[in-house]
Every structure is written in C-alpha cells, then in structure tokens.
Subunit: 290 residues, 4 copies
C-alpha cells in the first residue's frame, strides 16, 4: 500500500527500505534533501491517494510541530501514525486534536534499533480497531517474520505505553547483567570473565539477546577498557518510574537502574560530599579533600 | 567414558539419561533404591575402573558428607565432580582435603533445570587444566549442542562462583520483567497485557528465554490468578549479594530483587509497623489496627 | 498584626491559638461553622483592614478554588499566604495569576504536626523580600522559640519545595529506623528491643526526634502488635522522587522508602506473582496457590 | 572502682579521662608509652586487685590477640569487657574460650565519637546479669547524664549486635539527608540551601543530631567545595546488611546507603561500562571513550 513517511534518519531510513522491499510504495520526506523523496510535506501529501496514511518517525522534540503541519495538509479520513518515542500521555490530546479535523491517529512503539531493517521491527500499537486494521499491511511488513513482534495493545496511547514499559524493563535487564559483570571482574577466582558470559548464551536461565550483545562487546574488548562507565538515558526510563509512582507500583529495580545512569554522569556526588562532611563531623573520619 | 553418578533426583536422573543417550556408561547411586543402579556407594565405586570419576548431584546439605564417604572409597588419581549448588567458598577447602588423599576435585555450576535433558545443560567449570581435560567427554555430552554452554571459568571454586553470579543475575532479570508486568497490569491504557509480552518475543531489546517462559505462563493464566505472589530463594542470590558486599561492588538491582523475595514471604512487615507507629505519633495519621 | 486564616482543622485551628496567644488578631474562616469566627470568606475579608494578609491552610485539593475565591474578594496590595501542602510547581502560576490582579503571594511549607501549637511550627518560606518582610511578625510567632525553625528559602515556590524535600528526607529517616527495628526484632540475641531504642536517645549518632517518637510508641506497645504494617503516602514523597528524576539526582534511599509504602498497601504483589510464575516454569519450583 | 583499660587512642584515652573525672581508678595500657600508665599488660594486671575488670578498646584487628594475651594473665573471677567494634558473631566463641579458664566476658557497643568525653558515651551491653551488675559503676560514669544512653541488650553478643544495627541505621539516616541535600543543590528555586538545613533544626520532623552536624558543616563550607564525595565504610554497615540477608529482612534503604559508599570510591564503574557497551551494541548510542 501507499505510505507517507516523515523522518528518514537511522530508523526511518531503514524502515523505508524494509517497506519497499516488501512491495509498498513509500513517499519519504526529510528536511535533509539527500534523504528525501520529495521536497516538502505538501508535495508528499499530494503524491498520496486518499485516504492517506502518514507515518512520522522524527525526534520527540519536533513531533508535535510535525503533526500540526501535517494536520493542516491532510483531509478527512486520513491517518497519522506516530512511531517515534513520544510520551504516551501526549497521545490522547494529540488524537483528539486530529479527530476534530477528521484525521485519525495511531501510536506505535517501535523496537529493533539498527538491527530492525534485517530482523524486523517489534511494533506495539495503540488506536482504534478500524485504524489499526487499515494499517495492517504496513505493520505486517515491518514486523519480524515469525508469530511474535506485533501487538495491538489498546486504544490510543497504549502503543507508546507498552514501549515505555519495554524500555524500563530493558534498563533493569541491562543493569542485572552489569552488576554480575562487575562482580565477576572483581572476583579473584574467575579468570575467564568473557568466557563465562559467552558460555551463558546456551542452556542457561539468563540467555537473551542482550546477553548475546554483551558477549559480542566482550569479544571486541574483553575488559571494556575503551569505554567510560557513562550512560545517558532517553526518557522512557524516567517515564516508567514516574508512572510507577503515579500508580503506586513498587519499582526498586528499574528505579535503581535509572539512578545508576544518573550517577554515572556525575564527576562528583553532592550527596556523598554530605556523607563525607557528616563523617568528618561526628567521627573525625579521614576525608578526601578536593 | 565411565562415570559414577551420585544423586538421581530430578537433575541427576535426567543427566544420567542424557549421558547414556550419548553413549557413556553411567553407574548411578541414590538412597532411593527405585532410582539406583547399585545398592551402595561402595558397589558403585567397585564397578568403575580406575582412574575413576564420580559426579555428585545431591542437595547442598548432604554434599560434604557424600564427599567424605566417597573419599574413603576412592583411590589415588580418582576425581570427584560436584555439580550441586555448593557455595563456592566450600570448594577450595574440600579440594585440599581430597588432594591430601590423592583425589582430584572439580566444581561445576549446572544450569538448565527441567529443560536440560533435552536442550543440554550449561556448565561452568572450576578446576585444574588436567582434571577438566579428563572430564571433557562428559562435559561435551551434557552441554547444549551449539558453540556455547560450556566454560572453564578458572581454578577450583570458579565454577560454582560463576553459577552463583548467574543466579544473582537471574534474580535481577526476573524482577525487571516482574516490575514491568505489574505496571502494565495497573495501567488504564493497555488492555492486552499478555499480548504485549507475547509480542516482545521477537524484534525487541528485551527478548530472552525468561520472557518466553513468562509468555507461556501468561497464556495458561493471563492474570496469574492461580498464584500467590510468594517466592523462596535458594542460596545463590544471597551469596551473590554477600560477595558484592565483601568486594565492595554496588549491587542495588540484584539486592532489591532478593529483598523483594524476602518481603513476599511476610504476612506483615515489622518495618512498616514501625513506619505506621511513627506516622501515628507525629502526625496523628490514621493507622490500620490489627 | 491582623491575619485572615482560612481552614481551621487540626493544623489551622492550632495555629490560630498560637497566633492569638502571641497577641495577633486572627479572623478565622472554615466551612464548619463550629470552628469559624465568621460566616463567609467575604465577611472575613471585610473585617480586615487593608493591606490585608490571608493565610490559607486547607487540604491540597481545594487550595486552587480557595485562592480564586479570595482573589475575587481582595484588593490591590493584599497578600495570600498558602501554608498547605501544595506542590511547588503550582506556586508560580498561582502567583502570576494573583499578581495580575495586584495581589501578592507567599508559599510556606509548615512542619510540626500536632506538636506545633506548643513547640512552634517550622516555616520554610518562598516569596519576595518585600512580602516576606511584611509577614515577619506572623512568622516570628508561629516559629519555635530558638534561633532555628524559619528560613526564607527563595522566591515563590521555594517554600513548598523545601518542605517537599523535608518530607522526602523524613521518608528515608523513618525507613532507616524501621529496617533496624525489623532486624533487631528478628535477632536471636537482642532480648530487649524497646530498651535498645530507648538507650539510643542520648549519646548516639542516631538520636533524633523521630527516634524519641519511636521510643514512645514502643513504650506503649513494645511489639507494635496493635498496628498493621500499612502506610499511606501524602504527595510530597512522590514529588520528591519525581523531582529527583527530573533533575537526574540518584535517590535510591528515598525512592525505596516510598516504594515500601506502596508495597505495604498491597494484598498480593502482581510482580511477585510473575516471579512465582517464572520459577514454576523454569525450575518446577513449588508455588503457593491462591 | 578499679578498671584496667587497654587501648588509649582517641576513644580509649577520652574514656580514661571521663572515668577518672568520675572518681574511678583507671590503669591504662597502650603500646605507645607516651599514652600508657604502665609498661605492659602484665604490669597492668598486677596493679589491679582481684576480681579484676579489664576493658579493651583496641582496633578490631588486634582484639582477638589482646583477649588471648589478657586471658593468660587474668585469674578466676576476672572479667574482660570488649568495647571495640568487634563483629557480634565473634563474641560467643570468645566468651566460651574465656569461661573455660574462669574469666567472664561482656561486650559493649560504644557510640559517641569525639563528643563522648563531654556528653557521655552511649553503651549497648551484652552479657550475664551478674557480670553487667558488677560493671554498673563504670557504665554509669561513662554513659550520658540523663535517663538514656545505656541498655543491657541481652546475653553475650547482644551489645555488639545493637551497635551494629545502630551503625546500619546511621548509614541510612545520613544518606536520606544526603539525597535531600543534593536535590536542594540542584533545584533552581531554593537559593539558600544551608539556610534550609539550619531552619530544620527546630520544629521539624527531621531534626536530629546528624542534622545539627550537617548544619555545622554547611556553615563552615556552604557548598562543601573542600570535600570529595568519597566515603569509607567501617564494617558495621556491611555486617548489618549481611545479617539482614541471613534473617531474610528486606533492607533496601541501608543496603542502598552502603552501595553508595562503594560507588563513591570507584574511579570508573565496571557495571556502567557494561551498560555503555550494551547501548552501543543495540542502539548505536554515543559512548564516552576512555
């Protein structure tokens, strides 16, 4: 089927390839003319037959504006799909705004990263039965080949919600491996840490895709000497913990994973300065001066 | 090759089958005569040609005693392999005791649970090059078919150490999924929680064997209504955190997973009683009486 | 000086007493006529000479509405003081709305609970120098007698912000004692747990007002048998952790204290059900049926 | 009464002063002749009339050896008091060894740090009724003046146990303040962070001796610029968490405080390197190179 695709960066560009390979007609727009099929959003919309479907794959910061520009160009019965990392709570207001001008809205959480073009993208979809039905040919081509990798998770917002939780879980999984890695590194007994991780790839309870990736990383750099222990966070982890707080869900593991990333970006910890100050006050404990 | 096997419960029994299928000659002993091939440890030892190898697969509580009984029956050049869930710190003293009477010692962390007979058992091995070399035919048959699932992790103790960390990581992984599950259950937006988990099995960053199992469990019982939120712990999780403390490794995630299991087994929390008492004292906050 | 006081519940009522004892003229309004000095907000405003100052001490849920009703009655140069548990982020918009009609705004975090009437209330104040200056006679009378208990923390919002952090810290402090209490209760060695807490009230590093309260509670009920381990949370704890997330501050301790309260209110834990389901799947571990 | 005192460092030296001021006859021994009253343990023992009482106040590492040397010098009916930071689990074996030669044993957890000489030392005591009774004149003089600061917590070991938990709680309390401090420092609203802490010293729920000390520290150095965020840990915090693990007590707060100290001493975090490696693998996320 025909699809407009806005945003042709690492994710959007690869998705265009995968969709074309599957036989779809994709009209792609990107502000970078080297990537774009058309010169403007208006030209993209013009090239699509009604009822149109336009998939947005842009950085979270420009999603709202892109939606509004598109809304002004689209007509009654068209659908906008947001496949970016929007916060789920933005979906319903956006949907209502679009519905008011006759445009439908679907939110899709997309997982797969740089591996998606080849393996397929896992899709978590929020929207009405009718809208999701209409987009199924696109979803079918984007998703992985097997029986998994696609879910219609609920009404508008549910797709980004599921993706948010997916990423929160991802934080926790990664940190569990990371803590185990550090302990093995510190152990006097285990002399072959990368070998231990490699061995776990089959037959163990902890086997996973993330473990496979860690093995690959350790093969390239067995002691990870080339890397700083520094990690950014990209929104979904924070939103997951905030949502847990809103719904009174105990979330020690994912929160701890998030806090560890915060700490990894600090040169010095104000909290630990306060600890040092207190220890100096009550016990005359040695301190480390700046 | 020939192998003595002590302990023919769920794990040992399945391992005997897998080894026999691979062509090894296994002489199995178990206190339960319905399971045993021989009537006593002595008879088992008698049936093995020197230099012998005897694999122990018994509950942690009786390992020490089994090792001692065997040591009295074995001769110079024989090897004992402990495949049970011993604490790594028991391995070196045990090994030294055996070495003093000419018997070698290998420790093996075994993963795979009830699925191991068919898929193979992941093996993490500690011991000398020479001893491990001698047992390789057995290890080769027990491990999964592919290139993974076996590691010689280091000297005596390293096998159980690696298995301990494996289990610690397992605690953290499980709890990350569990927290995500609870959040999805509480969400007003996601109407298809089991479907979300199922979808994650392909194309996502969080795909893993544990996720596959959670999907299977949710297929059987979509809201897990048949289960109590109660979990035992089996030693390795505690040892992992204790070892982190010994080596000054920050381990918030795995520790939180362990503590959540402790809490799951409490009818009421003394700590939270203290919180309730304090709130009543300073704020006249409503309390819940027993 | 003259002060209008809206809300004469446990906090507001006691504050009226403390202010009158100090010689101020307080005109109190409350929807409950048994508590009120006047029959309406309008009557209260009428009885105050301009420029007026009106202190609001109402539940967070009705603060906004109370502010709006008052704003309609007040005149240029009057000041509203919000001493309730508002979220700090509501202060600036509220202040701007009031400023637009010539009314000033001060936010005050108030601590002291049921003990405040006698001991004084700790006050954390946000607002302009000029407004705070004008209210100083009131602040002086409400605060404790000594050199502490009052701070002008910053511009509008800073008072509620400081109070929010105060309450977040309070969560962590309480939980530290609570964990220690539980450990002592479980110990086979310590036979006099209440005596240990009582002894800590002098000479130790952990002495505090909360410890004094815990001692009082344990004197009344040495094993806290009359209480359920159940604790509500009142907003500030959640806001503190949310703010930590916004500002990328690692906050493991306060977050864990908050999560423990969430868990204390659950009959069964969905997360632990997922753990039980996983353990059953991979290990055939015994589960606890509902 | 007469008391032998072994170890005249910061703690022991001050205790000798406090005891002498109270009228006791203290014979102090220390390997440093500048501090000692006598030249040897033997001379100290000789100067004491039977039945003797000898208080040991030495670093944990030399306690066992000191006890043994003393045991060889003492006679039937004498008592050894260990006021150092021994692990509680060492007390019972030590006591049994001493009892076998007719010497009694009391363990005392001592709190008070550099402030104890003036304010008194909080004492948590483990031992038999009879032995504790005999030492009461000494305890009375060491403890603070008021009704608190002393507890006979239980049999041998209970004193060090109570002190261990005291220190565990201390870790949690300090970290709660520290997290609040960091959040206030990061806030854009609060312009007077030291003033906020100072104000909390009266009328608030969070007032405590530790808060007083933090205020003093902030008065000297409002942004703690002179300190590194680095903190050692001294054993009791680790033992507290290990004991929680042994007794299946959830201890998220104190454990998190302990882990934060571990992290404060790392130049780079192996765990966070693993996180960075994983993020690079699956998402092509930017990493920070060494």
């Amino acid at each position: 089927m025909q699809l407009g695709l806005v945003g042709l960066g690492r994710m959007g560009g690869n998705m265009r390839e995968r969709l074309r390979t599957a036989g779809h007609e994709v009209v792609g727009y990107d502000p970078n003319p080297d990537l774009a099929d058309v010169a403007s959003l208006a030209e993209m919309v013009e090239k699509l037959a009604t009822p149109r479907a336009v998939w947005i794959m842009v950085p979270a910061g420009v999603t709202e504006q892109t939606v509004d520009e598109l809304a002004a160009l689209l007509s009654d019965g068209d659908i906008i799909i947001d496949g970016g990392n929007s916060r789920y709570s933005d979906d319903l207001p956006r949907s209502e705004r679009l519905n008011a001008v006759g445009v439908g809205y679907i939110d899709v959480g997309v997982s797969g990263g740089v591996w998606g073009r080849e393996n397929g993208y896992a899709l978590m979809v929020g929207g009405s039965e009718e809208h999701v039905e209409r987009l199924m040919p696109i979803f079918e081509s984007l998703k992985p080949a097997g029986e998994f990798g696609f879910v219609h998770a609920g009404p508008v917002g549910a797709g980004h919600y599921a993706k948010m939780v997916h990423n929160g879980i991802e934080y926790g999984l990664m940190h569990a491996y990371a803590e185990g890695y550090e302990l093995l590194c510190k152990s006097e007994l285990v002399t072959n840490v990368p070998g231990v991780f490699k061995s776990w790839r089959e037959g163990t309870v902890v086997r996973s895709w993330l473990l496979d990736l860690l093995d690959i990383a350790l093969e390239e750099d067995p002691e990870l000497t080339s890397l700083r222990g520094y990690a950014d966070d990209t929104g979904e982890g924070r939103w997951t913990v905030e949502e847990a707080i809103r719904l009174a869900v105990p979330m020690n593991v994912i929160a701890a994973s998030l806090f560890a990333r915060f700490a990894s970006r600090q040169d010095d910890s104000p909290a630990m300065k306060a600890i040092a100050a207190l220890r100096q006050q009550f016990g005359g404990h040695a301190i480390h001066k700046n």
